[in-house]
Structures are given as C-alpha cells and as structure tokens.
Amino acid sequence: MIERVIENWLTNTNERNYQIAFCHMLMQKGYKVIYVSTHRPMEQGKDIIAIDLSGECVAYQLKTGDIKLPTWRAIKGEVMELIELPIVHPSCNKMKTHKSYLVFNGQMTDEVRHQIDQINEHNSRLGKDYSYLDIIDKNVLIVEFIEAQGKFMPKELEDFNLFLELFLANGTDFLDKKKLFHFLNSTFFSNSSNLSEAKNNIYCSVIFTSYMLNAFQIQNNYYALFEGWSVLVACIIRFSSKQGLKHKDIKNNIELIYDEIGKNMDLLKNETLDKKTFLEGDLMGDGGDIYKARATIVLGTLASYEIFSSLRNHEHKFNDELLNLLIENFKNLKLWGESAFPFFFFIIKYLELNNESEIAKSLLRSVTETVITMNSFESKVGLASPYYSVNELFEAVFFDIEKVNFNEFTGSSYTLECLIHMLARRNDRVILESYWRIISNIQFKETRLDNVEDIFTWRVENGLNYAQFPKATQSWKELVNDSNDTEDTPSLFHEQLPFLCIFIIVCPHRISSKIIKLIDYPK
C-alpha cells in the first residue's frame, strides 16, 4: 500500500516538489548534500551537488515526467552543461571528473537512451574529460524512496488511517495541522536510541512529509505547503531538543526545509502581486468576511516571511510592491478572533520597518481597541481565543452558532498583554490611559508549558493554563520596563527567533508576550 502511495506521489509531483525528498534520501544514504539550487536559476546544469560515500562529487539534474525525443532535444543543452562543466564548489576538486545523473519521475524512450549512450561512448573514445551521464528514472526513484522510508511504514491502523487522510486530503482546503503534528510526532519523533537513529528519523520525516503534502502540491496551495513544512521544522526542533541533538546535527535538514518554505513563499508572493484581487475558487460563498480573512492571512504571512528573512540575512531587502499592496488593502483586513493576531502583528511590524509608522500605529491602536471592547467583562460576545481557527469560527458564525460559546471569551484575552506591551514599547499610552479601567478587569491568559520545547507541538498534556488580572493601578514606567524585559526568556526562543516568526503564524495559540517581545525588538 505504501508503495502505491509513493508511486502515486511520484507520478503526480514535479521536480520542484520532489527535490527536497530526493536530497533527504541522499542524506539518509550517507551522502553529503553541499548544494541545492533553489531560488536561483540552475547553475551549470546542476540542481543538486553531493559528496557520495567514497568522497566523490556527484551532480544531479532533476526533471519532471517522461523523457522522449522532443523533451531530450529541449533539455540537451542543460544536460551537456551538467556533464561538461566541472563542479564549482570548494568541496569539489575541479581536476577530478564528477559523476552525473539525469533524474526524472517518468520513463525514457529507447531513442533517448541510445543518444545518451552514444554521447558517453563518443566522449570516452575521444578521451574527453567529461562526466559520464547516468540516469535515475521513476522505477529507480520508487525503489530508492521505498528503501529510504525503511521501518517507518505506519503499522498501527490509526496511524495508517491518519497517513491516508493526510495523503488524500482536499488540496484546496486548509492543512489539518493537528493531524500532521500527531502523525509526525508518533511516527518519527517519539524516541530514538542514538544520534544515527535520530538523524535517520529526521531524513525519513522529510521524505514522508513530501508524500503527505502531495494533495496541496498538486493544487499549488502555497499557504498549506508553507504550513506543512513549518510544522515539520517545529517537530524537528522539539525532537532534537528532547534528544539532546546539537544545532549542527539538524542544520542541513532545517536549511533545506527553509529553502522549501522560501520557495512556496516566493510563489505565494508572485501570485499575490499578479492577481488583482484576493478572490479564490468558487465565488459562491466568497467575498465579504471570507475575502477579508484570506487577504489578512496572505498579507500577514508574506509580512512574517519578510521579517523571518531579514532576521536571517541582515542585507535582505523588503519588497516595495508588497508594502503598497498592504497599504491598499488596509480596509480588507479582518480580526476574526485572537488567532488572527499574529497576522496583524507582522503587518504592523512590516509597515514600521518600511517607515509607515503612522499607518502601523493606527492599526495597532485599532486592534487593541477591538480586543479591549470585545473581551471586556461586560461584553456579551468576545473575540475567540487563539485556539479557534478561522475555519472553525466561520462555520460557527455562518451555520452553527451553538458550536462556539462566544460569551466564554469575555473577561479575558491571550493577546491583550502582547498588545499593551507593544504600545508601551512605542511609548503610546493614549489608548491605554483611556481604557485602563476596562483593561484592569480583563484577565491576561497564557498556556505555560512544563517543558519549553513543547512550544513546538500542537497540544500537550503537561502545562498550566495561567490567568492573571493586570494591576488595578499600573505605573507607566513599570509597564514600559516590563515590556522591554526579556531576561527570563528561554534560550530556545533566542536560538529559534527567526523560526518563531513563521511558527506563530502556523500555531497562533503559542503566542505569548515573551515571544512577541523578542520578535518586536530583537536584541
């Protein structure tokens, strides 16, 4: 059954999407992947460069589908670059001829195979120092991937069912993150006896995640793919923390996944800038609040990715077109519940970082005011906590109002303390002054986990649901000091600061004033 799944995935995917699984399959075999072409055009015909077990440099060019004569003619130039041009990388000796593979998830016709044979023979006969071209077709890929997933075939019926549900999901819908977290944690990240086994678990998890995101890849659902890969990073970080792995042990895996996330974010950004509206799919049911929620999600996610990129690379340049789009769509933002907060946070940050402070201030004040008024003690209908997704809330509001008790959210908030600290850090006390009487009757809520690394999972059994009223009489000076104090922030948060930018978009229920403090003004 798993073989059918792998075959189905390979048949429907393209080289862009099977690249990461292929890299991890190589790494699982003990290869060292030293270069992967991501956002840049393919360099000298080489998509992937690796060092094999004998220390030889190997170059791969990845293609989609069958290689028939017309396709061969179209790609021949790139393939000749693959074999003729030496690998330009510090880890590879230019004097030594590398190995070359043309990889494709289809079949090759005899005519093409014959031509490749002739090229190899011709080069050898003439004594040319060119690489020998070998091929890896779909049949070989299937065998390699089946071998790579090794013992990780879901054996328990429940896990197998979960795997199939994810594989057969509706690719146009939101990713079921709860299921993905559960499957990854129970299959790959439960325990391992040694470093080698732990690393093997990680390689296989990446390959399996490629399968499970298949439905979303087919639909080009970039947001779902962004979420899926982010979930995997979170699981790997948590697992490595529990297993005592060092950063260097998981660095390569994480970087490759970040490349995958970046690829999908670039595609989402291009699509956003190309399309004139945020309409999607069936227009029946679209528009109105659905439209606004989608605009908020897309713009907030793109803003968070820009900030993530800038934290990893200080020379990162922000995108002006995205900024203009944010400003144009100001009226199209929707605070559907507290799970929308991270999107608004990053939009505010992005506006500030691009010198649009007045608009950012206005948005921050507006969000704060909304949370205060809706979640006040006297309110009848509160903003739902960040544990409720936009989908769940819309279903309740449009069709089954009994499903969610909106009254439960009044008198407390998971995001108000974050907003108050944001205003304090910006020395903006106007709103706080006028609303403090109401604020002092709203409990600040937070889930405090017994193990800090458990922040990187969906739900835990061991944790404290903490609630505290703010001080009735609050000193502004003390508030400003508190808002800047990051002393008791766990070191894990500091280490994973860039990733936290995208993680809280994916898991908004993990926001806390500690995390927002760190991201808001990173030191």
């Binding site: 509706n170 939101f174 945020f278 799919g281 227009l283 049911g285 109105g288 659905i290 439209y291 279903e395």
Partner: protein, 196 residues
Amino acid sequence: MFPDFPKIKERFRAEYSKYLQKLTRDDPLFAGIKEERHFEGDRMSHRPEVGEKESTYTLHSSELIIKKEEVIEKGPQAFFEKIQGIADEIKKKKAELLFKTMNDVTKETGNIVDAKGKPFEFDSFYEMIEKIWIDFDMQGKPKMPLMVIPPQMGNAFMKKIAEWELNPDYKKRLDELFERKRKLWNDRESNRKLVD
C-alpha cells in the same frame, strides 16, 4: 492558489440551492404538484391506462451574472440578493414545460374543450368538468383540481362563476354531474381490492 474555505463554500452552496428550490416551489401552480427526486438514470416512464410513455429530463436553468466587486463587497449576500430573479425565471420555464406537456397529452387523448373563439360560457365549463377525472374525500366532497386561467380572464371568470351559482338550472345540471362523478369515483375505489 490562495488559502480557501471549500467546506464553508460547500455549505453556502447547499443553503443557496435549498432556498432556491423552496422559492421555485413556492407558487400555487406548483404547490399542488408532487415533486420527486431521481438519483440516477437518464429517462423516466409511466403507465397511463394503455401503453407506457417514456420521456427524458429537461434542464431548467437561469443565468446569474454578478460582478466580482459585488462578491468582494457583499460576500454570499450578493448571490442571495439575486435569488428571487433566478427563481422567477426557473418557475417560468417550469410553467412553460408544464403547459406544453399538458397540451401534448390532451391533444393525444382528446381531452380538450374548444370554444372555437366564442366567449367562455357555462356549456363549455360543463363540458370541461365532464371530461376531467375528479376524486372525492371521505365526506363525499369533490377534490377540485387547480384551474389555471390567464390573468386577463381572471376577474371575468370569477364573475361568471358567481352568476352561474345563482342560476338554478345550471346548479341542477352541475349537481347531477357531480353525482355521476361521485358514483364513478365510488366504482373506481370499490374496484381497488384483492380478489382470488
């Protein structure tokens, strides 16, 4: 693609469909006509007194034009605002099909009263009642069928009915007719039995 909400849209579509069906059935003309759903097959048949009649399905549709800006601004409300117009058009097409079918059937069976261009008088009305099948309830009251009259004739026809009711001769003839009809119904119903 952008993130989407297919399950929510599916529910909106189902609600829209349900409401549209309710509006298209919400008409005196169709209220008395039983509707049934067929889940498969591409044709249907029924057995009149003699032979079997097969027929195919006819699609009734209506075009709905909505601007993208309306959808963005109003959301699903943009569709619901136009639903009455859609329902009216579908009802019109259903009615046209109904009358065409009635015309074809009555031509075949000869169940037609042709006034030949003369004003609609009692004799034509009497002839019409004589030709149709009438059922009765357990109290012996006739279950009169729906009469569909062109709007321009409506008031005039109601006036005539009122006049005929006051005419003792017409009343006697109608009473005798209904008595004959009742007997026919009784005979029909008595024949519904299991025999050796």
